[in-house]
Symmetry: C2
Subunit: 345 residues, 2 copies
DNA sequence: TCCTCCTACGTCAACGTTGACGTAACCGAG
DNA sequence: CTCGGTTACGTCAACGTTGACGTAGGAGGA
């Protein structure tokens, strides 16, 4: 069997020859354009079928005036992360609806890699890109945007103007989580966050501060731990926090993997029923744990749908002012966030 | 700001004009081909940079003799499923290494949709496709394959010849799981499986039968439940099984979501420490549950890497006989699979 | 000195498709 | 019967790029 098949793909010319018409007429039939009589249409269709003809979209988009490739780029941090993949899926569904396919890539939160992928995408002349911006400066994104590429940022807003974005209620929901803990009597609430370069981390931290302030609590700086990228760093930080002379009675973990790391530590010390925990971002089976993990759940499909809507509107020529859409997240109470402080001091 | 930027992309012609050379020379410089003097190279590079020139890969691949698009298609069941997305990520990493991007789509185990996506991919002239075949007949896949498109199937083998595939040790690992349960004294081991049309389900069921036979146990047909697509159906089935007059003392759940459904039921009835459970396919946090869930863990990155290796070899013209690569899975003992039968009868 | 070979370019056409435009045949109205 | 309009095609060139091939000029050998 020929894996690298040598057969030339049939072209419009082949179909035209078989149907005894011009290639232009074949083009009309294939694209359902008027100007072809019924019997010619039938003849062309039959010829195309018998040759196994498939239109070549790359040639077509090269020649077409709108220059559309019917392809968009999606550049997320890590496609194997449940958050990212759920987002991708939501975008994909909306894209399919428009007959558009998705070129997907993982930037690993690395600006260089993100830039390279962006170049690869633009070399393929995608109609637009949906990007989860890597932390730090966004020069490459801005440059691409200024070249005219329709662009929507998700999860994190642009640091430059003129570009749509979709984010969640990071600050408000974080504040709500902290207020929930405070209302139970917690006075020592720790913050464990991801990289400080990430906008979401900053926003969630701000929400934490607002929550403390609103509850009349004072910030204990030693209870704030940031730059915890990955569950392992989170574990270390959680251990250190719990080993303090005056340890926190509640933890607010501001990211997925940070929550997991903190959970591991609590379980290892058998403190999961003593120390309250609220995490940002839901994860599968959070309800099956003992206790169930209270989380701020983002509306991931909602984020993806909105991002897709925006990018397709822009591709279709919508020139209204840039939008910053905010999709509300919700506090899901499952137990771990409803633990009262054990021994008030 | 112009979201739908009207600026025409600079072309080789523009660069050539500015550098006062022919487009062919620009082509040589851009592609690092010999036949351009050092100062011309510098002039062209400068012109390209100042115009912000970006090569148009679609035009290039149209004209090139090898006709490569440097893009492959990936068609999985559901990109938001952790198994699928981990697989995608592994393929993507290998692809990036070759300067290749990935067009990704979810077929939802629907043959029609899979066929449509396949057509979309081939219209974009992808260099090859990696497919998780939808259940049932694979006519569309076979047809595409016979047109000469390099193709590798993952997770499920082709029902037609001449095509590479990569699968895991479904049967052997299932047998091992059942033998593990039998060795603890379990005689009533239930099987809960996904759609019977799926090859993996069939293989895992066969492994279950082999395990029973090898342990000298007789099959009780009422303990076999299949076609459980999704956690909800699995819940119903598990409930019914546990309500039998002579309920199983151990469950072998042959798929991800089926395991989750069964777990929910066990927990709801507070039997998670009484009834043994082994699931096929690992999932995040399986170790954090009480008890930890014993699973057959597939080597997902290994599967993805192998699939990518095969597809790129074929794209590069490897015409050796088709391969069926098998990546070993491993039994991960965490507790739920090590529960002995409570009251032997 | 003349011829050959090589280097560094340029010219031209073609990849598969479609926009712009041309034209022959036909139709209905005046 | 003529004229304007419409329908159903066809012709041609161009999208951005590269393969095939041509050529001027210089280097080098006999």
């Amino acid at each position: 069997m020929d894996q690298a098949g040598e057969r030339r793909e049939p072209t419009m010319r082949d179909v035209a020859a078989l149907a005894k018409v011009s290639t232009k007429t074949v083009s009309r039939v294939i694209n359902d354009l008027p100007g072809a009589g019924p019997e010619v249409v039938e003849r062309v269709r039959a010829a195309a079928r018998s040759l196994g003809y498939r239109p070549n979209l790359t040639a077509s988009s090269l020649r077409r005036s709108d220059r559309r490739s019917a392809t968009i780029g999606v550049l997320f941090e890590d496609l194997s992360n449940p958050f990212d993949s759920a987002l991708l899926r939501a975008v994909e569904d909306r894209a399919r609806h428009n007959g558009v396919l998705v070129l997907a890539g993982s930037s690993e939160d690395d600006r260089t890699l993100q830039g390279e992928l962006l170049v690869s995408l633009s070399a393929r002349r995608v109609d637009g890109v949906v990007v989860m911006a890597a932390g730090g400066h966004q020069d490459a994104l801005q440059q691409e945007r200024e070249r005219g590429t329709p662009m929507v940022l998700v999860d994190r807003p642009p640091t430059f103007g003129g570009t749509d974005c979709v984010t969640t209620t990071n600050r408000e929901s974080s504040r709500e989580a902290v207020l929930q803990l405070a209302s139970l009597g917690h006075r020592d609430i720790a913050f464990l966050g991801d990289r400080r370069t990430l906008w979401t981390s900053q926003e969630r931290y701000t929400g934490y501060l607002e929550g403390l302030a609103q509850a009349g609590l004072t910030l204990r700086e030693e209870l704030v731990r940031t730059d915890l990228h990955g569950a392992d760093l989170a574990e270390t930080a959680a251990t250190e926090l719990l080993d303090l002379d005056r340890p926190p009675s509640a933890l607010f973990t501001a990211q997925n993997l940070v929550t997991v790391g903190a959970m591991r530590v609590l379980r290892a010390r058998d403190q999961q029923h003593l120390i309250a925990l609220i995490g940002f971002d839901d994860f599968p089976l959070a309800d099956m744990l003992e206790p169930g993990i209270t989380v701020v759940r983002q509306d991931v499909p909602g984020l993806g749908r909105k991002a897709a809507e925006l990018i397709f509107a822009r591709i279709d020529g919508d020139t209204s002012p840039p939008v910053h859409a905010v999709v509300p997240a919700a506090l899901v109470r499952r137990g771990s966030g409803e633990i009262a402080p054990s021994a008030p001091r």
